[in-house]
């Protein structure tokens, strides 16, 4: 049981302060993504209220970018929602790990679920040495709250700024959308399997674009990930490295 290894000694005040400083800087860093998201959502003709609702309620970056990207490219509702859901599925796996760490009860469980994202899980895992589990818990809550606040404020700033700019194409904002996706993909390309899946999915999406309704080629590209992921892993050391989730 988790209690058995809990707190042989309490973390010091400076250790706790360090976690809080990390959480604050992670929040500020994600603010930049939030500004981009707000601007790109407006570029895809979402209203300020819809853009803000996405950051408050969906609160998981890649899903939000994908949803506005697909709708902006004239994709259907099912493709946009399906892609956003699939990109959000990894949070369920983070939650599994956080459930064991946080053991939240009642309403705290709902709040913990909403705050379960890359950054909060990342800071919790980084501070979880099995000795100071309260530091890991502090990392989760501090990063989760810090990112939530910064992300939502930044979203509004980005959306208001993009609305004020007028035609987003004049400022190249439509061309910034694939760049943002590439930046989100970048840390996940650390191994050969992942790079192969990325290339395969890209080729499949391009090949399907002329024949399917917009949005569906993206949604269907997930098949490449499912097929490769279910394939029995090769045992050789050269290519046997498991794809790992990109945590900050």
């Amino acid at each position: 049981m988790a209690e058995a290894i809990d707190e042989p000694q309490l973390p010091t005040a400076s250790e706790r302060r360090e976690v809080l400083v990390d959480a604050a800087s992670i929040g500020l860093a994600t603010g930049v993504y939030g500004i981009s998201f707000g601007a790109l959502a407006v570029t895809s003709k979402f209203t300020l209220a819809q853009t803000s609702a996405l950051s408050l309620l969906m609160f998981t970056g890649a899903s939000q970018f994908a949803l506005v990207g697909i709708v902006g490219a004239a994709g259907g509702a099912a493709a946009a929602i399906g892609t956003a859901w699939m990109l959000g599925a990894r949070n369920g796996l983070y939650a599994l790990r956080m459930a064991e760490l946080l053991m939240p009860r009642g309403w705290k469980r709902l709040v913990a679920a909403q705050l379960t994202i890359d950054e909060s899980t990342g800071l919790a895992v980084r501070n979880d040495d099995g000795r100071h589990r309260s530091l890991a818990r502090l990392g989760f809550w501090a990063a989760g709250i810090s990112v939530f606040v910064c992300w939502n404020i930044a979203t509004i700033l980005g959306a208001v700024a993009a609305n004020a700019l007028g035609d987003p194409r004049r400022f190249g904002l439509d061309a910034a959308i694939p760049a943002a996706f590439l930046a989100l993909l970048w840390p996940r390309l650390s191994d050969r399997t992942a790079r192969g899946v990325g290339i395969g999915a890209a080729i499949m999406a391009i090949a399907l674009t002329p024949v399917l309704k917009p949005g569906l080629p993206v949604l269907l590209s997930a098949i490449v990930a499912v097929v490769v992921g279910l394939w029995p892993p090769r045992k050789s050391a050269a290519s046997g490295r498991e794809p790992t989730e990109a945590l900050p």
């Binding site: 996405l54 939650a95 910034a176 760049a179 590439l182 930046a183 024949v211 892993p233 989730e245």
Partner: protein, 105 residues
């Protein structure tokens, strides 16, 4: 209610349920190595597809325009370890300048 609002609310409901699943489901269901492998690869596939579609497609039509130049600049910036904001701003600036000075699409 507009279809945009429907997409926002249904989309957000689903991503919340996915987050909550980990706090409710028994660990053995999700801890399976194949589930872990597939769920790590799905973002790679979807993001790759999103990159090419948003670069080359206009609805069902494929074309090469300023968006590709912007993506190449973003790629170089990422190779040089530029932070997110720099990558996005450089990409936007590339497309904006090509359109303004060279009249690219």
């Amino acid at each position: 209610m507009s279809s945009r609002w429907m997409i926002v609310l249904v989309g957000a409901f689903g991503t919340f349920v996915l987050k909550a699943i980990g706090y409710v489901l028994p660990e053995s269901w999700l801890a399976h190595p194949k589930v872990q492998r597939v769920s790590a690869l799905i973002p790679v596939a979807l993001l790759s597809a999103l990159i090419v579609v948003n670069t080359f497609a206009i609805k069902q039509h494929l074309q090469i325009d300023a968006r590709l130049a912007a993506l190449i600049v973003a790629f170089i910036a990422l190779r040089l370890k530029a932070p997110f904001v720099v990558v996005v701003v450089l990409a936007a600036a590339t497309a904006a300048l090509l359109r303004y000075f060279l009249n690219w699409a």
